[in-house]
Subunit: 224 residues, 2 copies
DNA sequence: TGAATTTTTTGATTTCAATCAAAGCCTGAG
DNA sequence: CTCAGGCTTTGATTGAAATCAAAAAATTCA
């Protein structure tokens, strides 16, 4: 059941900003709330796609499984973020990743067929979507660059700086092994890089709580 | 100068398929032909973006330079392909890659501001663009997966099978070092993988001419 | 609370690919 | 035809991270 809280949450999401009241109402009519327990699978790689999603609360990981069962986390999706919406525009869309809740989560599920109909009436929203996808492409290109020419320490340092923002404190929202996969490193290597960052006094760690001690040092590692 | 040949070439490109005659004419009025010599730089990473491009003939490489001068080729663009069009929808768009002609090339240059105006009138073309960008995203995700969980031999084998298609013959259109960078491997490693593929009789090589001898074997390598 | 499970860390070793160095090889300009 | 300068290959070595194995720490839950 969609509550007023959900509705105003949806309204504040960028993708839905440009909609007129009537269009927004139509969107509301074609969405539903879904509650997920930790480890619930929302969809699997290869499934036909008919809906897209917005996280209301919790965390969802998007990942690919290789034939030998190895899991590569492509993205961790957080509240306010939509995902799988790009697939709407493909002919025979199937999910290129699997999605699993990392903890108890609420996601809002949108019917893509009805959203598409509405979209044909809203050039504004088309442009919003084009902009969003463009940024996504940019991020992925950046990521490919990182993977090709940078090492694990670089990726982890960048991640820490990015998460910290202004603050110097970070609480890792996910298990270290999941973050490791997101950064394309093995858990053991992750642990060793953390150890090294501690040994040069760049950070201080207590479980999932990380304190940045020497920002310059981290920026050094995150550079080139 | 836009010739009739150029015009009909443009018309056959997917992106422009859904345009009405009048819209198409407006597009034609706001584009120009540009001739590039080998190694001419079309734009550099960080430049402000105001145009997007369609290759008419030749080849253009899109790549990123790291601070230490290392070059990572993100994509090789071929005739009929557009590039940089995704940037139109960003607020302050700057090119995330550099573009250089790999040989004498002709590219068609479109003014993004006028294209955007026209686009607001053509929902069809918006959808085409959304579809194209969606596919691009899918390809990039695939690429990230390849880089994270697969090795160089996998990537090279996949590339060969992909290039070959039905045929069993491939002519490499670009220097091996450029292809190596595209596949995120060093030229030396590239050469060694080729050597290995020859040694197991999977392929036969004469300069840039490659013959696939044992497709099954290559598929084996390209798998998982 | 305490056993059981999961997560994280540490240690030893291996592996794939990068790097450094140099030799062949082509190609195209003179 | 030939020689200079770019590609490409080969060889030797190094290095970063994966893998294998196991201990330690943290969590869960009975």
């Amino acid at each position: 059941m969609i509550t007023a809280a959900h509705s105003s949450f949806i309204q504040r999401v960028h993708l839905f900003n440009g909609l007129q009241q009537q269009q927004f109402d139509s969107v509301l009519q074609h969405c539903k709330i879904m509650s997920l327990q930790k480890d619930d699978v929302l969809f699997s790689q290869g499934d036909m796609m008919s809906h897209f999603y917005l996280i209301y609360s919790g965390l969802v990981k998007l990942y690919r499984l290789s034939a030998d069962g190895q899991e590569k986390v492509i993205e961790i999706v957080t509240p306010g973020q939509t995902f799988a919406e790009a697939l709407m525009f493909l002919d025979r869309p199937d999910y290129p990743v699997s999605a699993t809740a990392l903890n108890a989560s609420e996601v809002i599920v949108f019917e893509s067929s009805s959203f598409l109909k509405m979209l044909a009436q809203s050039t504004d929203t088309c442009f919003t979507l084009l902009g969003q996808m463009s940024q996504r492409i940019r991020g992925l290109v950046q990521e490919i660059d990182n993977l090709s020419v940078q090492n694990g320490r670089h990726r982890l340092s960048s991640y820490l700086l990015d998460q910290a923002g202004e603050s110097s404190h970070i609480r890792l929202p996910i298990p270290k092994a999941v973050l490791a996969s997101r950064l394309s490193i093995q858990p053991e290597t992750f642990s060793r890089i953390i150890k090294q960052l501690k040994s040069v006094q760049a950070i201080q760690v207590d479980g999932s709580e990380i304190e940045i001690l020497d920002r310059e040092q981290l920026e050094e590692y995150a550079m080139v």
